[in-house]
């Protein structure tokens, strides 16, 4: 019903657009230049009035359980009022532009408000959780044991069982392995594509890399669990090394491969944006292509490359699916990449999708999310500082 009314309001708005435009022409008495605003702006102004008032009324009336069709009346009144107001000197152009600016502002506001809302809910839930463990934040941050929901009585959480150290170490280890793979391969691929590949080859390879970046992570996840992890285990067995069938190494390897395209695609753009004049300057001094890339292009592109790498790090830190499938769920405090580990994001999934009462599980889950948020925020701030300090501005 409401949807039908919304369509009708749009139709009415379109009608008033033509009506007001026509009226503006009549008001001008045939001399269009005597109008302050072109007829189209008068029409557009009426259109805006009808849609805004109509949509507003529709929202209010449905919430008050009034009949939605009443909104049609409001829309029509708004339309009539705006078209009655049309005179030669009406500044319909300025007014409608102001309204559009307001709409744009509101859209930007949605993103900002959502962010603020999320952060606030994280902060409050984390506060409540810390209160319930008697403000033993030290045990939360540095405790070696994570099993918040085991031996739970009456929903009281034991501070000794909520140490996130194993999760942080697991996250760090998997991210580290992933970056060890992705940094060299991603960067070298970007350098090859932007400096050495022929235009034709580049036209082939770059879109393919972007397709690779678009593959859902769950696909990488079962690839890791079904192919890579058993392969690592069997290979380890050949050499007498004990590799767990779910290991940090398997997850790290696959995440590394997964983020190669994002790193190389971004780094390639950055390298391409280094002005040709710098390369020419280097060639003119008798430098070879390799010397030019190494000593002029890469240093100039360094801040951008750094942010490309950082994007890779945040993707690796936030990655969940691959780790759930390939690295296990047990919170092991270990520095051995051949064993099963777990990460912050995986534990959030476990808490929320587990069968424990949501109100009990939410506390640890939100505080994990808050920790993760703080970590990535610090990373981003550091990176921004670095980039700003070393960035060169080219015309």
């Amino acid at each position: 019903m409401a949807a039908f009314v919304a369509v009708l309001i749009t139709v009415i708005a379109a009608g008033f657009f033509f009506l007001s435009r026509r009226k503006a022409v009549l008001v001008s008495g045939g001399v269009l230049a005597s109008l302050h605003s072109r007829p189209g702006y008068h029409g557009f102004y009426s259109f805006l009035w009808v849609t805004l008032f109509g949509a507003g009324a529709l929202l209010v009336f449905t919430n008050l359980s009034l009949h939605p069709a009443l909104a049609l009346g409001v829309a029509a009144i708004a339309g009539i009022a705006s078209s009655l107001n049309i005179r030669a000197e009406t500044r319909a152009r300025n007014k409608s532009e102001k309204i559009v600016t307001g709409i744009l502002f509101a859209c930007a506001g949605v993103a900002v408000l959502t962010t603020i809302g999320i952060v606030l809910s994280l902060v409050f839930e984390t506060y409540n959780f810390f209160e319930s463990i008697g403000w033993r934040v030290d045990k939360f941050l540095f405790g070696p044991r994570w099993s918040p929901l085991s031996g739970l009585q009456d929903g009281v959480i034991d501070p000794d069982r909520v140490g996130i150290m194993p999760l942080l170490l697991g996250t760090a280890m998997i991210t580290g392995i992933a970056m060890l793979i992705a940094t060299p391969i991603g960067l070298f691929a970007a350098i090859f594509l932007s400096e050495f590949a022929s235009l034709r080859l580049r036209g082939w390879v770059k879109p393919m890399m972007e397709v690779l970046a678009g593959i859902p992570t769950v696909v990488y996840g079962f690839f890791a669990a079904i192919t890579v992890a058993p392969f690592l285990r069997d290979t380890g067995g050949l050499f007498g090394v004990n590799v767990a069938s779910e290991s940090a190494l398997a997850a790290g390897l696959v995440i590394g491969i997964m983020i190669i395209p994002s790193i190389s695609s971004l780094a390639d753009d950055v390298i391409n944006s280094v002005p040709q004049s710098l390369r020419d300057g280097s060639y003119a001094l008798g430098a070879t292509k390799a010397e030019t890339v190494r000593q002029v292009v890469l240093p100039a592109a360094l801040p951008g490359i750094f942010s490309a790498l950082l994007l890779g790090v945040s993707r690796a830190v936030g990655e969940t699916m691959v780790v759930v499938m390939a690295a296990g769920q047990g919170a092991n405090l270990t520095a051995n990449p051949l064993e099963a580990v777990t990460t912050v994001t995986v534990q959030i999934v476990m808490l929320i999708t587990g069968d424990t009462d949501a109100s009990t599980a939410a506390g640890p889950a939100f505080s994990l999310a808050f920790t993760l948020f703080c970590l990535t925020l610090v990373l981003n701030i550091l990176a921004m500082r670095f980039v700003r300090k070393y960035r060169e501005v080219y015309e």
């Binding site: 060639y283 003119a284 001094l285 008798g286 430098a287 010397e291 000593q295 060169e392």
Partner: protein
Amino acid sequence: MIKMKTRNVDVFYGENHAIKDVSIDILDKTVTAFIGPSGCGKSTFLRCLNRMNDTISICRITGELLMDDEDIYAKSVDPVQLRARVGMVFQKPNPFPKSIYDNVAYGPKIHGLVDNKSDLDEVVEKSLKRAAIWAEVKDRLNESGTSLSGGQQQRLCIARAIATAPEVLLMDEPASALDPIATAQIEELIDELRHRYSVVIVTHSMQQAARVSQKTAFFHMGDMVEYGDTTEIFTNPVDQRTQDYITGRFG
């Protein structure tokens, strides 16, 4: 003394015949100016002299280009080595995003011209002095080259080109992006440089050509119309097109 000699040089950009049958002798320790209306091929021809056109795949060059009577397009010549002997300064200053010192040290380092730090210091200082910018930057050699003003950047680029000890210095409208004061400084510098190097300068400003050069070549639609002493070209041109151009009737 003739430093560079070209005979019957033609340049093609794909289908476009950009330079038609140009033969010219460029003298040592002389400033030679290439003038002509936009698109006449003077910059293209300049870039043949240090093989910068090699980086453009559709560009094809025929004819003979000699430096000290050696063919610079011979198979045995490495364009990378050639460019160390024929330096180039561009229209827009393009200092590397490195320190002032490293900008100048770049060439000597990659060519292994020096083997210790104190020699390198000496080369850097000498080059900056010859480019008439030493006094302004001697206390801030570690600052970024891009922090300098436009005119200073261009002199830094000249210092950078000088540091590889070139024999010929090509300048592609080196002052066109600069204000009149910086332009005057660059012109004064060019006059200094001619005591050591053979300088070839492309310029849009006929006054500049008249002020700094001893020889002038006039290009028009890919042809080199006229070449001779600068005073002759400007006071007593032989060709009608040259006369029209220098009197401002077209261009």
